[in-house]
Symmetry: D2
Subunit: 328 residues, 4 copies
Amino acid sequence: MNQRKYSVFLGNVGSCSDRYCGAYGRPYSIEELFQRAATVPHLTGVDLVLTPDLVDGFPTVRRMLDATGLNPVSLAVDHFAQAKWKQGSFSSPDPAIRRSAVDDTKRAMDLAAEIGCNLVTIWPGQDGYDYIFQADYEQERTWFADGIREACRHNREIRIALEYKAREPRNRCYLNNTAAAVLILEEIGEASCGAALDYGHVLLGYESPAEAVAILHKYGNRLFHVHINDNYRLWDDDMIAGSVHTLEYLEFFHWLRRTGYEGWMTIDQYPYREDGRDAVAESAEWLHALEGIMDHADSAEIDEVLKRKDAVAASRLMRRLLFRGETP
Amino acid sequence: MNQRKYSVFLGNVGSCSDRYCGAYGRPYSIEELFQRAATVPHLTGVDLVLTPDLVDGFPTVRRMLDATGLNPVSLAVDHFAQAKWKQGSFSSPDPAIRRSAVDDTKRAMDLAAEIGCNLVTIWPGQDGYDYIFQADYEQERTWFADGIREACRHNREIRIALEYKAREPRNRCYLNNTAAAVLILEEIGEASCGAALDYGHVLLGYESPAEAVAILHKYGNRLFHVHINDNYRLWDDDMIAGSVHTLEYLEFFHWLRRTGYEGWMTIDQYPYREDGRDAVAESAEWLHALEGIMDHADSAEIDEVLKRKDAVAASRLMRRLLFRGETP
Amino acid sequence: MNQRKYSVFLGNVGSCSDRYCGAYGRPYSIEELFQRAATVPHLTGVDLVLTPDLVDGFPTVRRMLDATGLNPVSLAVDHFAQAKWKQGSFSSPDPAIRRSAVDDTKRAMDLAAEIGCNLVTIWPGQDGYDYIFQADYEQERTWFADGIREACRHNREIRIALEYKAREPRNRCYLNNTAAAVLILEEIGEASCGAALDYGHVLLGYESPAEAVAILHKYGNRLFHVHINDNYRLWDDDMIAGSVHTLEYLEFFHWLRRTGYEGWMTIDQYPYREDGRDAVAESAEWLHALEGIMDHADSAEIDEVLKRKDAVAASRLMRRLLFRGETP
Amino acid sequence: MNQRKYSVFLGNVGSCSDRYCGAYGRPYSIEELFQRAATVPHLTGVDLVLTPDLVDGFPTVRRMLDATGLNPVSLAVDHFAQAKWKQGSFSSPDPAIRRSAVDDTKRAMDLAAEIGCNLVTIWPGQDGYDYIFQADYEQERTWFADGIREACRHNREIRIALEYKAREPRNRCYLNNTAAAVLILEEIGEASCGAALDYGHVLLGYESPAEAVAILHKYGNRLFHVHINDNYRLWDDDMIAGSVHTLEYLEFFHWLRRTGYEGWMTIDQYPYREDGRDAVAESAEWLHALEGIMDHADSAEIDEVLKRKDAVAASRLMRRLLFRGETP
């Protein structure tokens, strides 16, 4: 039986904007967001994005963590939501911006240490480019690795998870897929640095979530954190988990268990038009139900199918898992 | 309870080639293909592509239809597998080729009439273009509609279903999506002409299968035939039905029932590396199990959810359908 | 020699936000935006999105039109940037919202009439859905057509251009491609209603801009307006025109001229990280240079190549156009 | 001035098939293919795929190399066009197949040595999977690296170039992108093993050709070979080079020169419907003209633009390159 360590990004239970509409719902205070998160079934943790307002409100954060009993799963540094990052954070051509990217990370690590959280997430969504002839691809990658390395050395007790994604907000991001994440991790060369696998980002990159788990396991056991959502593969739609790629979740859970992943799964979605809390609850129920299927599955039998390299056997396995034996 | 009229393209239970490998499996005779198709559970029909060898072997086809009791669901004209079609069939700039496209269709209609089959399928995969500056988009569309119209008038008792697909073998095909199919049907202006909806082609076109059913229903009740398979959305992978887009099948069946579709569902896949018969049997089992879910669903309740335009309600409905109530 | 009627969406010369970053640049007043637009070479018009602040500031708009001499090319109704549209505008399940969509359009038509502008643009980006099982695809389309029809009848002297796009902000939009636009225009049945072709939206839909012009011409001469930008085909990146799909612009201009399009071309991009005015000027220079190539091209020779359906001839034509004869 | 070392895959000047049509043109003998290749302007080399018929006809190959004076640029092992590879070559679950993959490579290395060619190309298109739950992603990758390593050690004077591509013929291939290629090269750990960058494969993977050059340079100077063609980004359309992604070629050439690439560029396309020789000649003319632009460009000025991280400057640079100064 799996332990079900589910978390959510605090803002997910609030309101969202897109590039056209500044606010689809009303704003929520930090207290309200915590209270709403605490009502979601199966959730026992929370991840926080350290936007300037959350840094300012950190005493409230601390108080609400106590009040709700939610675990602080990770702090995510804001390297993407301020105009200063518009040409990159760790890879910016401006040395002052690169300095700021490192310093903000160190501050996040310190805040994490304060609240007993040992994981900091970095999503370098602004590190990339939009047009051809716009970037020095080698130099910027080197700056990127150098900056992360410096941050890691600030406190090796705090683990840093790099989240990769092929595009958005840049048309092209440097940390674009699973193998690219491993490569940059090798260049950084710090054992406290690993990868955050976002289920939807993997789909967006025409990769398979289960295979991404396998790659991160094979090349240095680098899976530090998991984000959960769903999409239609061409964009990071950040939908309710399981509502599109249902069967892929079953294979994903199998590989997480097989490779001994013991971290959290953090719901990370954008319920633009929905009540955020209710949409998060849907993801939690999907995860719970799908993990329930895998709790009753025979993992040795699954591994046997994987070794046969037989699509018909794979299809039969999927049917049996999904319909719990009520199919030939 | 739905009637389960499932068919398969005869060649699907045999062997496949791709552009690199001329044959992944051994060739099968027409007799063998029929015998293999007859062993697939839930199947009661067969669709035939009138490639030159099948036209020559038509007496064998007739005999095997009798021998197996499989219904002849449709005859598909070969407008795509001969070199003469390389610059299009009905829309070719060469008038002799356009003549041949019409004549081959009339012959198929005659053969269909002979065997008591009232449906001819046309997939104009070669009608389109590869490069910009390569085609007169208006003139070729007009030729296309003119040719189909002439064929329809040959025998209005035989229904003609036009199958649409965004690309392949041309980089761009004229009949590329559901709305494009309706437009050309309106230009043709014959009531005996409708659309063949291929589940995978719809996914490839970033469309939703259920919505495609709705569009074809709304604009003239034009759904004449359904092809079944699955893919990863970026290419016509022709995989086992349900193995990727499982939930979409549930919505698809709901709309087929709601709009009163009474035609067949024909499995149309490319089991390159699998035993063709076994891969087809997998699709049949998936279809059977998924239709079983919808047999027990409350269609009025589903329509109620559709009217609410509420993603959370939609997600909850999907969970309940898939897990048959064993989830909140 | 083509007349070069270039316009720009007023906001394009200002600042942009995305879903993460509320503002990449400083805000600009309406006066400033007009002054900036007036400095862009080759531009003689401006398109305006009637967001609430622009409606309130309409006297300023009128004054600045006079002051700059820029032509008011079209008014675009805001059916996408307010939370009230979150489940659709003309197709919303809420009748009060549908009413508001129509009334806002009529108000825009009145404002257009006041300033001597005869074109209103409607982009129904919120009319669609995100999840399967979330929408009644037939009913909502009917509501959509009914609402637009009512608006058209308010004043048939004002032309209404419907802008289509496959996705965003909804995961799926009803007006998703060129043929879908024609179908809905036929359902609306008003001669004053046509299509706005956005170059980038066409690319996003795996369509060809030139072919879209041909389709809109063939089925009722429906091209009322053109939006200009560029992207990498998988998302509406709204980049500088010509910076990605350069050759496609040449074919696009050929078909615009061949089909007698006499409307405007409005630059519609999202220069998130650039100075908006400078990025717009880049698009204007690209357009000017590419149209210059077509001014010197032999259109009869081009049509001759189109009739040959020969990729090698098409490639040679492209080389000759681009390198102006300095290649074999 | 660049040296223009252009080659072509011998079969490219012949005829093609796709999965529907076995032959769009007539077959050509080995002699004819060489004679046709020899007439293409700017070409001085030829790459050969060692399909069984070419192995049998190797004496003819040797004779025609002498007769035409074409350089034997690389031999590509056939790990994709025989049914035995249907579940993978180096990564097959069947040890006899893995043995065959290694042995066929060694034979190719021996043949290469015989004709004074020091490069063998491996494209593991069958090494991957189609369905989820179909593969042991870790084990198969290990087998793959082990097999290539063994082949490398057979003769370290012969360089081996691994060609990567995201999909086709498998729905998912293990060597799917640039970073994945680097990772597997590191696992192999042989200096004689590098990457073959296919321009179209890079586009298909939503990567940038110039950035791929930079990555391969940065992580071990791993670029051993370049394949040339073009496509619409969603499939490996294998079109005439430059006919779609024209500007990207300019940036690609810049980075090839900047990183000191001195290898060949081999045209690798699939002219299904064209005369193969003429379609290859088109690619050669495009390459020649585009390299001509870069011969006259100021590379220091380009590097200056890259350092500014400014999209407007990038756009202006592109315009100036393409229109050779005849634009502001």
